[in-house]
């Protein structure tokens, strides 16, 4: 075997691969890695290398030196230089010699990056092992053996094991078989205290209390552990713990991202996730509701809120953007979230070109894209349960008043008919005009023209502006102008405006006209009158304009009064406000140019809120302009909805339609004003609710095109919605819409969905998934460490009705999970990352849990579940200029909200909460299914010096002095156990007490002022427990700070 030494392969870089291949590595000095066990897998290890590095020159398109390496027969046949591969004789194989750069010939790949030594080693091993190249494995069109992850999982047969007594459930059989194969045995079970702390951190993300530990220790029933599992799975904190992980994948955050990064109120979605997990909503339903809850029959508020999953994309409201560009960015982001988070396939790779490794074409990517491409980006009002109850009773109250009216006036029907007959049935004929918008005049906002002649305002909501629109018309005369403000699902609360509650205000409506044949003869059109279908009372806005003048919104006359302080407002002040509106402006003199008129409209919108958040805008959301030549035109006072009903033959109107007409008509009857006022009062009591970004399906199909290189300006062929051929087929019945896609994702035959999920849950427990790359089960992923276990869990999960709690129960009751995490250096050497699972998991907890542990140990934790996100303590300067691009709201939380769990901390994407960021929490800028796990000095500075950690140390000290017992050792044990659950060893006690004494002396000597250390900044000095001194409290604060900074405190063992 001397020849094997003829080329040296450095060992560096090889070890990582070795660990997964289970090769034993000979020392570096011998130069050549030699496999003593483990088999190189062609499909996994070799084919990707050939595809990536060789086939472009030795494949279907080029056959340099007549060699092809894309199919078995061609490769074995060789090329001009002879046989490339001699099975069993690596060093005699040209393939190896050339990639290793041996001999005279140039090293392959020619002109490319040389293969790394580990890869060359793999090729050598593969040839040595006989160059096994499955007949079915080809490339580029040849029949390819299906990648394991694309074959639906089936329940594997469980292996036989020698130590059957160890097996608690089938997980263990599969794990143990692998260990026994390797001559290893599992670790003993962890002691009870360690186990309970592990279980608590895993299931609810909080450490167990001393009482919980003692209860578990005292429970000698055989069901003791299972009882703890059920207790924790039943805790509402379970949903917080595992919900946070889903929120990573769902890229949840509380702001829009990009430079303005405005806050968005979407915590209903976060609470929906927590609630869904707590009630163990089956995972298939969990996915269906998030993808298409709005399309379910009789969709509930909850199901609509769930679609917030897709809306967690960032939104660019920077001035001057092309809104379609960023809608596309959001679409790509959604695709990636579905790919990583649900499918476990890197579909986003095919956004620009066919996937390089997985059999997904670019066209197939856009066919999947088409499923999601037909929705409005809606923002709706949502109500808490309490609000929903109140809402129901108010709506009922309104109906009751109307019924009362009808009962008191039995002739109402006849009177209403008479009213209807008396209505003007010959309204003016309006001609819709859709002028050219001068983009220069919009302050970066875009007016998107729609097919019905209207404009939808999009993009930056930025500043006050006076949009200029110009059109040439042949119509004459022109006597009046109509402005319709329309509702649209793409507007907040449906519009018609862009303010946070969907309203708007029009400061001035101006028109200029010029004859087409004398365009320079421009004259301002003087308006004689303005009418509208809403006559709001004048209302003063706060804040006032910059000059300090009061600003009013009110009747439509305000829009033609020439004053910038006044505007036509369309806000009813109640949730009833989101209605289409119209105004008609009548010219004093009709415009009459026989050869056509150039009309220029100016719509001034200067009633923005003037805050830095951009949330105060009152821009028009969707508008349409019309003109008429008829004299005396006025705005139809009837709401559009009512006018539509009246156009239906009276005999064909439904009860509900009649009621709606009545609801309007009653407001026109003067003597019913007391009743009308009672109803208005009820509307005023209606809760405003909270907002949520959701999807709502469009009526008209939006076309989807293949985009060349993913560029939305280069649309190619139009495609219809469909699924890639390498995955399971779409159900044949029914429409191919977003709901069908949702069902397809969680189809029982979906090969990757269940595997992806169980793999990620496994990763949550053991730090590494059974497939390491939990976002990608595709061809570039590593083979699972335990393929049978992955499949068994996936099948079991589906057969148990996709129940997540059931999956958790399975894993935490396995003997595998319950092993001790202690290991010898020998064990760490052999399996540094615990891929064989011969011991229990041990690693630092997630960012939020780091914080939660300090809060729980100190007793500060405020355990309330759900609700608006909170502004946890953070340096204020981070959220204002110059640190931040814009001034952000950060009203530091006081009281209980200061100590809410990390999941409730408000998340700005551009200014992540520092403590969470330092401990690797993702920012929400893209989907994340695997957090990094770093260990850094900045983390140490945080737990040492960050205010909340110090407040926790103070609280733990106070609590210890109060409840910890009478002597210092008892107290020490108490504080220690609150942090790490177990009892301290004698050595630990000695060291900690020595520290305590030393600090007491220093405090007594006046080195540090005790109240500086132990006093709360927030409240007055705490009352000291009887018989204790400030020096004691300060010394215990110092000690508590040490305990909260221990590696063990923030680690799961």
């Amino acid at each position: 075997m001397l020849s094997k030494r003829s080329f040296a392969i450095p060992a560096a870089g090889f070890l990582g691969i070795a660990a997964c291949l289970c090769l034993q590595i000979t020392p570096f000095s011998q130069g050549v890695p030699t496999a003593t066990s483990g088999r190189v897998d062609f499909l996994r290890d070799i084919q990707p290398v050939l595809q990536a590095s060789c086939v472009s020159c030795h494949g279907p398109e080029q056959q340099m030196a007549e060699l092809r390496l894309d199919s078995r027969s061609r490769a074995l046949a060789g090329g001009q230089s002879g046989r490339a591969i001699q099975p069993g004789d690596a060093d005699g194989s040209l393939l190896l010699q050339r990639v290793a750069g041996l001999g005279e010939q140039a090293q392959m790949p020619m002109g490319g990056k040389p293969l790394d030594p580990a890869t060359i080693g793999l090729i050598r091993e593969w040839i040595e092992q006989g160059a096994d190249w499955p007949e079915t494995a080809g490339g580029n069109g040849a029949a390819v053996e299906r990648h394991w992850a694309y074959v639906p999982p089936s329940r594997p047969e469980l292996p036989k094991v020698r130590d059957a007594g160890w097996v608690a459930n089938p997980i263990d059989a599969i794990v143990l078989a692998r260990l026994e194969d390797r001559g290893l045995s599992p670790s003993p079970e962890a002691d009870r205290v360690t186990l309970l702390r592990r279980l608590s951190l895993d299931l609810v993300g909080l450490p167990p209390t001393i009482e919980e530990v003692e209860a578990f220790l005292a429970d000698d029933s055989s069901e003791a552990y299972r009882k703890q599992v059920e207790r924790l799975l039943g805790s509402p904190h379970y949903g917080e713990r595992w919900g946070r992980r889903w929120l990573d994948a769902a890229r949840y955050a509380d702001s829009d991202g990009f430079e303005k990064d405005l806050p968005r109120i979407v915590w209903f979605y976060r609470d929906w996730v927590i609630g869904a997990l707590n009630r163990d909503l089956p995972y298939d339903r969990f996915i269906i509701e998030q993808l298409a809850g709005d399309m379910l029959p009789g969709a509930t508020q909850d199901q609509i809120v769930a679609t917030g999953f897709l809306r967690n994309s960032m939104m660019n409201l920077e001035g001057g953007i092309d809104p379609e560009q960023f809608r596309m960015e959001a679409m790509f982001d959604r695709m990636e979230a579905v790919g990583k988070g649900i499918l476990g396939v890197t579909i986003q790779c095919a956004q620009c070109h066919n996937h390089k490794y997985d059999p997904l074409t670019q066209e197939e990517y856009y066919r999947l894209f088409a499923f999601l491409n037909n929705a409005h980006e809606a923002k709706v009002a949502v109500y808490t349960l309490e609000e929903q109850r109140r809402r129901q009773s108010l709506l009922q109250g309104i109906r009751d008043v109307e019924l009362e009216l009808q009962q008191d006036h039995p002739d109402w029907r006849a009177r209403m008919d008479a009213w209807e007959r008396g209505l003007d049935h010959d309204p003016p004929q309006w001609t819709v005009v859709q002028p050219e918008v001068d983009d220069f005049s919009t302050q970066g906002q875009r007016y998107l023209p729609l097919e019905d002649g209207s404009f939808l305002a999009q993009g930056a909501t930025g500043g006050s502006h006076r949009v200029k629109m110009t059109i040439r018309t042949d119509q004459h005369p022109i006597a009046a102008f109509r402005l319709e403000l329309m509702t649209d699902d793409d507007l907040p609360m449906g519009g018609p405006g862009r303010s946070i509650n969907g309203t708007c205000a029009l400061t001035e409506f101006e028109v200029e006209a010029a004859p087409v044949d004398h365009p320079d003869k421009v004259h301002a059109v003087k308006m004689a009158a303005a009418t509208a279908d809403i006559v709001p009372a004048p209302l003063e806005l706060t804040p006032t304009s910059e000059g300090g003048k009061p600003r009013l919104i009110g009747p439509v006359a305000f829009a033609i009064d020439g004053k910038e302080e006044t505007a036509w407002g369309v806000d009813t002040g109640t949730v009833n406000r989101n209605q289409p509106r119209k105004a008609v402006f009548r010219a004093e003199q009709p415009i009459d140019h026989a050869n056509g008129t150039l009309l220029t409209f100016y719509l001034t919108q200067k009633h923005a809120g003037g805050d830095d958040q951009g949330t105060g805008n009152r821009n028009l959301g969707r508008l349409r302009l019309s003109i008429t030549g008829e004299a005396g035109a006025e705005a139809d006072p009837l709401p559009k909805r009512v006018r539509e009903i009246l156009s239906i033959d009276p005999s064909r109107r439904t009860r509900e339609q009649i009621r709606q007409v009545f609801s309007y008509w009653r407001t026109t009857v003067p003597e019913w004003n007391p009743f009308n006022e009672r109803i208005e009062e009820l509307w005023r009591q209606h809760p405003e609710g909270t907002t949520q970004l959701v999807l709502s399906e469009r009526q008209q199909l939006r076309p989807t095109h293949v985009l060349a290189r993913g560029d939305f300006l280069r649309p190619g062929e139009r495609v219809s919605a469909g699924v890639p051929v390498f995955l399971h087929p779409l159900s044949e019945n029914g429409p191919t819409d977003r709901l069908a896609f949702a069902h397809w994702l969680v189809d029982r035959k979906a090969p990757t969905t269940a595997r992806t999920l169980v793999n990620r849950v496994w990763q949550g427990y053991f730090g590494i998934g059974l497939v390491r790359s939990s976002e990608d089960l595709g061809k570039q992923s590593e083979r699972p460490s335990h393929p049978k276990l992955l499949d068994w869990l996936a099948v079991e999960f589906m057969e148990r009705g996709w129940s997540l709690k059931s999956l958790h129960r399975l894993i935490v009751t396995s003997a595998t999970y319950r092993q001790s995490s202690r290991a010898t250096p020998q064990q760490y050497r052999e399996d540094p990352y615990n891929r064989l699972l011969a011991r229990g998991p041990r690693f630092r907890v997630d960012a939020e849990v780091v914080r939660d542990i300090a809060l729980a140990a100190s007793g500060l934790l405020h355990p309330e579940v759900g609700g608006p996100s909170v502004y946890s303590p953070a340096p204020k300067f981070l959220f204002v200029r110059p640190a931040s691009f814009s001034t952000k709201v950060w009203e530091e939380a006081q009281g209980g909200n200061r100590y809410r769990r990390g999941i409730y901390t408000f998340r700005y994407r551009s200014v992540p909460y520092p403590m969470l960021q330092t401990f690797d929490a993702p920012s929400g800028e893209s989907s994340c299914v695997r957090r990094p796990l770093s260990n850094t000095p900045l983390q140490a500075l945080t737990t040492l010096n960050e205010p909340v950690f110090l407040e926790a140390a103070r609280a733990l000290a106070l609590r210890t002095l109060r409840d910890g017992g009478d002597d210092r050792e008892q107290r020490l044990r108490y504080a220690f156990r609150r942090c790490v659950a177990r009892q301290p060893t004698q050595a630990e006690i000695n060291r900690l007490l020595a520290f305590l004494s030393e600090q007491k002396h220093r405090l007594a000597d006046g080195w540090v002022s005790p109240w500086d250390l132990a006093g709360y900044d927030l409240t007055e000095r705490p009352r000291l427990p009887d018989g204790t001194t400030p020096v004691q409290l300060a010394a215990w604060t110092a000690l508590s700070r040490v305990l909260l900074n221990l590696d063990e405190t923030i680690s799961k063992e």
Partner: protein, 479 residues
């Protein structure tokens, strides 16, 4: 051999354990750790664990060891500063040729707006006869030390995407920044300081936010650490009230002893890493304030920059940048967000130049006199350029313009006294020696000793690189 260690490690857990001495942007001496592990019998475990922040050799001998990127966020006007267009003065007030605007998208204005002549005069500077605006006289004084690129071009014309592209090579969020790639490739020579330090001055933070210095899919330790030149320089660096240095030291000693006991009992090498993290944190508590204290700099140096101890300014940040590279910090980035002149361009450019011209030039001079310029690459520039067309009627302004803009570079293997590239007579399009952002990135990596196609990181089943599938080294800029 190449950076073969830079592929294949994608697992977070593995990263943590494998990079046993791993520190957030901070390289560590490993003597203490080796000792610790020896005690616990874990020494052998560490054979395959190296400090990811230990200085690493790049692909070939580098010209530059450090980078200082003066990022002029908001996008300064090339037409007023570095790209002299006399023809634009001539055509002031006229419409641009229609064919120029075909397919052109502007952010705010109707591209069919009149041209606006440059607002400042230009002068010739140095032996190289470089043409530089009158508002940059200090830059003129170092003209022979810098290379001006007039032919930059980019793909984005909105701020956040433009800044993300300039800083990460992609308009999409989630990619590692230039600084992160640099420390990933080279490690750090700073023992007690982060490898990648970020400052921000100007009126507000950059549009791209934290993503401008993020680590993307690289390990978190590669992200830039923000320093502030006034107040607490690093978040949570100072001891809290009531904790004096004696208590801090005693606390850390106790934490270390307890952690050691646990390491003995449990055997998890991660605990040793934690011990080192705490020691490093303690060292940073003294090294960072020492670094930030510019009051001991000679008055002549302070004057050179226009720096004033205790203030927060771009000038102070420039001086701090020099102090950082002196201490082995690999990548320093100064964000100065104040260049978005949609209106009032003349006045605001003047003000901006008063704030930035002297300190930027001082940095070149100071580095040079200390012999640091040769190994430090300095870059100055924003995310895109400005339109030759005017924005606004009552005032002077320019809109965003991706087609052409200008930057300057100095030191670290850049050929001094060079002017590269040309735009057309209006400064609208590049007509000669186009340098795309990807090409700039390839060139920066080249100067740092990397083949930009080979500095890769495996993520989601694919080898990613800063330049994606683009980028050509700009040879004309090299010495």
């Amino acid at each position: 051999m190449s950076n073969q260690d830079q592929t294949g490690i994608t697992d977070p857990h593995e990263i943590s354990r494998r990079w046993f001495l791993a520190q957030c942007g901070v390289g560590l001496g490993s003597v203490a750790l080796g000792h610790l592990l020896g005690e616990t019998g874990l020494a052998a475990v560490t054979e395959d664990r190296r400090d990811p922040m230990a200085p690493k050799a790049p692909h070939y001998a580098p010209k530059a060891k450090n980078v200082i990127f003066l990022f002029m966020a908001g996008a300064p006007s090339h037409l007023e500063l570095l790209d002299h267009k006399p023809q634009l003065t001539r055509f002031d007030g006229t419409m641009p040729p229609a064919e120029l605007l075909e397919g052109y998208r502007a952010a705010f204005i109707d591209p069919h707006s009149t041209l606006l002549g440059p607002k400042f005069k230009y002068s010739r500077y140095g032996q190289c006869n470089a043409e530089i605006s009158e508002v940059l006289p200090h830059l003129g004084s170092v003209a022979d030390d810098i290379a001006i690129v007039k032919s930059m071009t980019t793909d984005a014309f909105n701020h956040a995407p433009g800044q993300i592209l300039m800083n990460t090579g992609s308009q999409q969020f989630g990619r590692p920044s230039l600084g992160a790639w640099t420390t990933y490739g080279l490690g750090s020579e700073a023992r007690d300081l982060p490898a990648f330090v970020v400052f921000s001055s100007g009126s507000k933070g950059p549009s791209g936010g934290n993503a401008c210095w993020g680590s993307g899919f690289l390990p978190t330790m590669h992200q830039g650490v923000t320093f502030r030149s006034a107040g607490e320089p690093v978040l949570y660096l100072s001891n809290p009230k009531g904790v004096d240095s004696g208590l801090q030291k005693a606390s850390l000693d106790t934490v270390r002893d307890l952690n050691r006991m646990r390491l003995q009992a449990i055997g998890d090498p991660e605990i040793a890493t934690r011990i080192n993290s705490f020691e490093m944190a303690f060292r940073m508590q003294s090294s960072v304030p020492e670094l930030m204290d510019i009051s001991k700099e000679p008055q002549s140096t302070l004057d050179l920059y226009g720096a004033e101890p205790g203030k927060s300014s771009y000038a102070n940040n420039c001086l701090l940048a020099r102090r950082l590279v002196e201490r082995g910090v690999r990548f320093v980035q100064l964000f100065h967000e104040s260049w978005d002149q949609h209106a009032n361009l003349t006045n605001r450019i003047e003000t901006n130049c008063q704030d930035t011209d002297r300190p930027s030039a001082a940095l070149i001079k100071d580095l040079k006199q200390r012999g640091l310029l040769d190994e430090t690459l300095v870059l100055w520039g924003g995310e895109f350029g400005r339109t030759p067309m005017v924005q606004g009627t009552e005032t002077d302004g320019r809109d965003h313009h991706p087609n052409a803009f200008a930057m300057w570079l100095a030191g670290g293997g850049i050929r001094p006294g060079t002017t590269l590239g040309e735009t057309d007579d209006l400064g609208f399009n590049v007509v000669k020696d186009k340098v795309h952002v990807h090409d700039l990135h390839a060139t920066i990596l080249h100067l740092l000793g990397f083949d930009h196609t080979r500095l890769t990181h495996r993520f989601q089943g694919r080898d990613f690189r800063l330049t994606d599938v683009h980028g050509t080294v700009v040879k004309q800029l090299l010495t």
